[in-house]
């Protein structure tokens, strides 16, 4: 796989047939991953375009832009697809995670506070997949996604970035 220029945003190709570089991620694969992993329908992003800035670092942007676009930010950091296990960003899950129908793990108020502080949460019983899950909590009577956890061996590890962590 060749590199991607970290100084600009390149549009993600719609599918494998339109790729200039077969090593790069494409939109169809990204949407399939969200559908398979979380049950999120691709229609959620019908008004959004996907962009790559730096290897495997994807952004989601409402609307269209020049390809390439040399700016500081284009919408929101969406997910990381560089390593074997793709990982959505905390902010993308907070924005789009309410559409998820599976691999969502509900946290109590106390567990939510731990998770947001960057701490792991014990969860010996879990029927879903291992790997990256959407952590959710109840606030003001609503179920709300709070971030991404990595579920391994009976615990949910918080992946909330340091700059986003809070002590409630």
């Amino acid at each position: 796989m060749t590199g991607n220029d970290g100084g600009r945003f390149d549009r993600v190709a719609p599918d494998s047939a339109h790729q200039r570089d077969p090593g790069r991620p494409h939109r169809a694969a990204i949407c399939t991953w969200w559908e398979d992993r979380f049950g999120v329908d691709a229609a959620v992003w019908s008004a959004h375009s996907f962009w790559e800035k730096g290897n495997g670092k994807l952004w989601v942007f409402a609307g269209e832009a020049h390809d390439p676009t040399p700016v500081e930010a284009l919408g929101m950091r969406f997910m990381r697809v560089r390593q074997e296990h793709w990982k959505p960003s905390t902010n993308a899950v907070q924005r789009f995670g309410q559409h998820a129908t599976r691999n969502v793990i509900s946290l109590s108020a106390g567990e939510t506070a731990q998770f947001i502080a960057g701490e792991s949460v014990d969860r010996p019983q879990w029927d879903g997949d291992w790997g990256y899950l959407i952590a959710a909590t109840t606030i003001a009577g609503r179920d709300v996604p709070v971030g991404v956890g990595l579920y391994l061996h009976g615990e949910l590890r918080s992946t909330v970035p340091k700059g986003r962590q809070r002590t409630l």
Partner: protein, 305 residues
């Protein structure tokens, strides 16, 4: 002469102005409509032990009984953003519509730019520019926490702002110029503004402010709207800037239609030896005693061509 002495005679009630300037500023947050509603945010803040009161003019602007809500779950979730009550006004006065292209020329740290996205329901494009790279990282952080996806962040000198990186063919419908200023109106939260006040300090920024507003007019399509805002009282940074651009660029002043519940004073027609166009009375000055806020200035311009 001190800061408060210079401006008290300008107001309808100098004593009330002086008293208000010495009181601490209420803490306010803006509710982010992209992630929640005022009702849910109010309930979530109450669960976190924070009592709120809606502002007189907007259900989305809440006054808090605490100094900060930064350590609460609704803040973490991007339901609220710390934003002074008068700082919530420029986006409303600009009046962006869904699907439009809007530029915020001096956008960091992003409270107003993300509010534009909110008012546009995260459709169209908000181009949030700032010359200060360090402050841009705060803008990016805020934008992402608030769940905004229609915002493009650019790093340019606003005086020479170019659409080229984003696409020169794009038509700009509206521009916000929340200009760098001497920040006299923030004296209630930053007492050093009074202590360090330099009677001639406001003169240095005027050329930059005129250039930024001029560039905003040039960027905007005919019939489009530009809002010029500062958080300062100095006529040199307010009416004098708008007056200069009225003479150099094709634009006219439109009345600032403040939301019901807010009190303001008209812009000045003269100060000291300065004389301004009659239409400057359609701009507004907000003094701290009028609505128990910080100080602010707002002008709305329509681009002619």
């Amino acid at each position: 002469m001190g800061l408060v002495d210079r401006y008290a005679p300008m107001t309808d009630d100098p004593d009330a102005f002086r008293t208000a300037c010495s009181r601490p500023l209420p803490t306010t947050v803006r509710v982010n409509g992209l992630k929640t509603t005022p009702t849910a945010a109010t309930a979530a803040l109450a669960d976190a032990g924070v009592t709120t009161t809606p502002s007189a003019w907007s259900q989305s602007v809440l006054r808090l009984d605490t100094e900060s809500a930064g350590g609460t779950l609704p803040y973490y979730l991007g339901w609220i953003h710390g934003q002074e009550e008068v700082s919530c006004l420029p986006a409303h006065i600009l009046g962006p519509q869904p699907g439009e292209t809007v530029v915020d020329l001096a956008a960091a740290p992003g409270g107003k730019a993300t509010q534009l996205s909110d008012l546009m329901d995260d459709t169209g494009t908000v181009i949030a520019n700032d010359v200060n790279l360090g402050r841009l990282s705060a803008l990016r952080h805020n934008s992402e926490r608030l769940g905004v996806t229609n915002l493009v962040v650019t790093h340019q000198d606003g005086r020479h702002f170019s659409l080229k990186p984003i696409g020169s063919a794009r038509t700009v419908d509206r521009v916000l110029v929340d200009a760098p200023c001497s920040c006299e109106g923030t004296l209630r939260k930053s007492p050093h503004i009074v202590a360090d006040w330099d009677p001639l300090g406001h003169r240095g920024l005027q050329p930059l402010q005129i250039d930024l507003l001029g560039r905003a007019i040039e960027l905007t399509r005919p019939g489009g709207v530009v809002v010029y805002a500062t958080c300062t009282f100095a006529p040199e940074e307010n009416e004098a800037v708008v007056d200069a651009v009225l003479h150099s660029h094709p634009c006219t002043v439109e009345p600032v239609a403040l939301p019901a519940g807010l009190t303001a004073a008209p812009g000045l027609q003269q100060y000291d030896t300065m004389r301004f166009a009659d239409s400057l009375t359609e701009t507004v000055r907000i003094y701290p005693h009028q609505n128990d806020t910080g100080g602010f200035y707002l002008a709305r311009l329509r681009v002619d061509r």
